[in-house]
Amino acid sequence: MKRFTLLVVSFSILASTTPLRAQTEILERGRRLFDMQCVRCHGVGATGGEGPTLLGRQFRTATDAAGIIPIITGGIPGTGMPGSWLSDTEAEALAAYVWSVARVEAEDVPGDAVRGRELFGGKGACATCHIVRGEGVGLGPDLTSVGARRGASYLRESILAPGAKLPAGLRGPHSSFLIVSVTTGDGEQVEGMRVNEDAFALNLRDASGRYHSLRKRDLQSMERRFGTSLMPDYSELLTGEELTDLVAYLVSLRGA
């Protein structure tokens, strides 16, 4: 805690007294670090991807650039945001860049979120598998705050090719949504999402929501179906305009 306080102080000093050219250099250094370390999830120019866009971002725990440093170094537990090994000066530079990006007004995501919401509950039948603000069916991920965690482009791709964008597992090192097909000892076929797996046992949840407790030694065969998902491919179910509206609705979901 003491160290953190010191950082805050040193950064404030830096921000108030550092000449403009030096500040520009720090921002440039931060941008380079961002391109190397953060782009994979937050997208080029921080426009979002598997992780959220940082344009116009309101940080819950940070009210200035120094407040972002602990997020960069410590990560956000329970999410895909890892901590980092950056040195203090590198973390300061990166925080300065992220803060500058967060001051940029985000462009509105195209589409009509109200129509998207109707599609979600209606034609898209999304609520038959997803919960939003406590309503729906909990087979797929809860989407209540998906707009705060994912970028628009990622959400769009997830709808068009669900199997290609399985959420990285928050439980252990593996995805909880990977589809696994097995044949049991008595010939029964079971296919479902991998809820849990170890070297000896497997838990699957099938499309009806039923859990299956399986021992690997009892299985005749087991196949991990990478690139597939229980979620249908929406590319032919929705028009281009409907897709844009649905994405706009998902982006608007920022928590309960």
Partner: protein, 540 residues
């Protein structure tokens, strides 16, 4: 308990009868040096971190075997007092189990029931400096009537084995510089040997010997030579001052050759080698030391000028075997850098080395064991993809050597990483890294238990785990190999075939090594998972 236990041991060996009769007037915990030397002759006990000085982590108990393993059940469970990671290997002697709990606490238990006999709490300073590892401890050493524990604030503490009271404590190295003791000390004749953690804090590593009686430091071997000493010129400029070479894992000892074998850590800063041109001796090496003086007898460097954090802090396993027609004293190591090494432990001569898992950084080893490095595998600003990952093909968790099968069993992490090079500027008590990694995790990463021929490194069988493990293995005379997994399995494999014979879901990740002991004629196997130590045996 003492008398019943004496009977149990007495049934085993004449040697144990002699020792215990001599020590009978004392309470539990009488462990003269000679008893540890002869540890193999009394498998009812577990007297040193790796089971014996040769670091075999092999139990010659055979009550639990292939025919009855599926009937073993938990005999008792001990829950630690404060949450944290358990990486301890308990010691068991004369019916008492000594284990460490996070961060640097020690508990003595009735090894038959798990009931607490005493508990020592190490008070830690508020400004504790811990850089690059969790607050863990891997176990105690025992010698005569004392139990020795290293602490995360850089001390070595001697406790009275009967009561847990402090006999003495000594500062090994200042914690403000990043020094911590997480290893189980090694107790030999009258001395306690320790090393230090802090390889990510720019420390200068060492191996120390302390007088077991009073805590006086007897000698120090610096793992990085100072100016004017051999090897100092393998460090550009002043880089040797913060060159790391931590010594954070228990070494091995050969009482006949009277040599101590200690493995050394990565050079610092970890991923930016530009500031430390040269081979960086004696990092990523094993050193053979005179235990009386700390003088270097020989060294072998596995990874010269390492830039991937492939420290050599793995267990050096001492094996006596026929090698090319003559009996030789060997030291074998499944190294973090993905190569398996066979050395002559009298001379340090390199005899053989071969990759035992996927690696993309070296074409092979030359006739002296030096890696032929693939160009372009150094960390870079944009990231360089290399196997193994920075946690290595294996890590601190123990392998096991079975004299019965001639195999070295090792838990393997097969995973690649993008290595990044960053800035490196030394600042006291701060991370000194110069970069980092991004792992290829998930289903791209694999975990295995391998059985390697101990003399050739050739793989005899493999057992696939769900993810790259953080726990070691123990082979037994019952033809079994015990191990654990991140997913919370404690399991036993057939030592000959690798076939899974038994598994128990302990409900929390396993991050330690198994051990075994016997009381009243009953064999127990102990392994920690989550916040508990699970002890298994056949039904009474």
């Amino acid at each position: 308990m003492m008398i019943r236990n004496l009977d149990g041991i007495a049934r085993r060996t004449g040697f144990a009868i002699l020792v215990l009769l001599l020590g009978r007037s004392d309470l539990h915990g009488q462990v003269p040096f000679e008893r540890i030397v002869e540890a193999d002759r009394d498998p009812t006990t577990w007297l040193t971190y790796s089971g014996n000085y040769a670091s075999h982590r092999f139990s010659s108990l055979d009550q639990i075997d292939r025919s009855n393993i599926d009937r073993i059940e938990p005999s008792w469970v001990y829950q630690i007092r404060r949450s944290g990671l358990i990486e301890t290997t308990p010691l068991v002697v004369d019916g008492v189990m000594y284990l460490t709990e996070p961060a640097s606490n020690v508990t003595a238990l009735d090894a038959r029931t798990g009931r607490v006999l005493w508990h020592y709490v190490r008070p830690l300073p508020e400004d504790l400096v811990i850089i690059g590892f969790p607050q863990v401890n891997r176990g105690v050493a025992i010698l005569d009537d004392r139990v020795f524990v290293g602490t995360v604030d850089g001390y070595l503490v001697a406790l009275d084995a009967a009561s847990g009271a402090v006999r003495w404590e000594v500062e090994v190295a200042p914690n403000r510089l990043g020094h911590s003791l997480t290893l189980a000390p090694l107790a030999i004749d009258g001395k306690v040997i320790v090393g230090t953690s802090g390889g990510e804090a720019g420390i200068r590593g060492f191996v120390d010997a302390y007088d077991a009686e009073n805590g006086e430091r007897l000698w120090r071997f610096w793992t990085i030579p100072g100016p004017g000493e051999f090897g100092n010129d393998t460090w550009g400029g002043d880089s040797w001052k913060h060159g790391a070479g931590a010594t954070w894992l228990t070494g091995s000892y050969d009482p006949d050759l009277d040599l101590l074998y200690w493995a050394t850590g990565n050079p610092g800063p970890d991923w930016n080698g530009d500031v430390r041109p040269g081979d960086n001796l004696y990092t990523c090496s094993v050193v053979a030391l005179n235990p009386h003086t700390g003088e270097l007898e020989w060294y072998f460097q596995f990874t010269p000028h390492d830039t991937h954090d492939w420290d050599a802090n793995q267990i050096p396993v001492l094996v006596d075997a026929e090698w090319e027609g003559r009996d030789r004293k060997l030291l074998v190591m499944a190294n973090r850098n993905a190569f398996y090494y066979v050395l002559d432990r009298e001379t340090g001569e390199f005899l053989q080395g071969t990759p035992y898992a996927k690696q993309t950084w070296a074409y092979g080893l030359d006739e002296r064991g030096r890696p032929q490095v693939v160009p372009g595998t150094e960390p870079s600003e944009e990231g360089t993809l290399v196997w193994p990952s920075l946690q290595g093909t294996t890590n601190w968790f123990s392998p096991s050597y079975s004299p019965q099968t001639g195999a070295l069993y090792v838990a393997v992490r097969e995973m690649g990483s993008y290595y990044f090079k960053g800035e490196a500027e030394y600042e006291e008590g701060r991370p000194y890294l110069g970069g980092g990694e991004r792992r290829l995790d998930g289903d791209d990463a694999q975990g295995w238990i391998y059985a390697l021929d101990a003399l050739t490194g050739e793989r005899r069988w493999e057992f696939r785990l769900h993810s790259p493990p953080w726990s070691g293995v123990m082979a037994t005379a019952g033809g079994l190999v015990f191990g654990g997994s991140n997913e919370g399995n404690i399991f036993a494999l057939d030592a000959e075939s690798g076939e899974p014979l038994w598994s128990f879901h302990a409900g929390g990740a396993v991050r330690t090594n198994p051990m075994s002991y016997e009381i009243d004629g009953k064999q127990y196997v102990a392994m920690a998972a989550g916040y508990g130590l699970f002890v298994f045996g056949l039904p009474d």
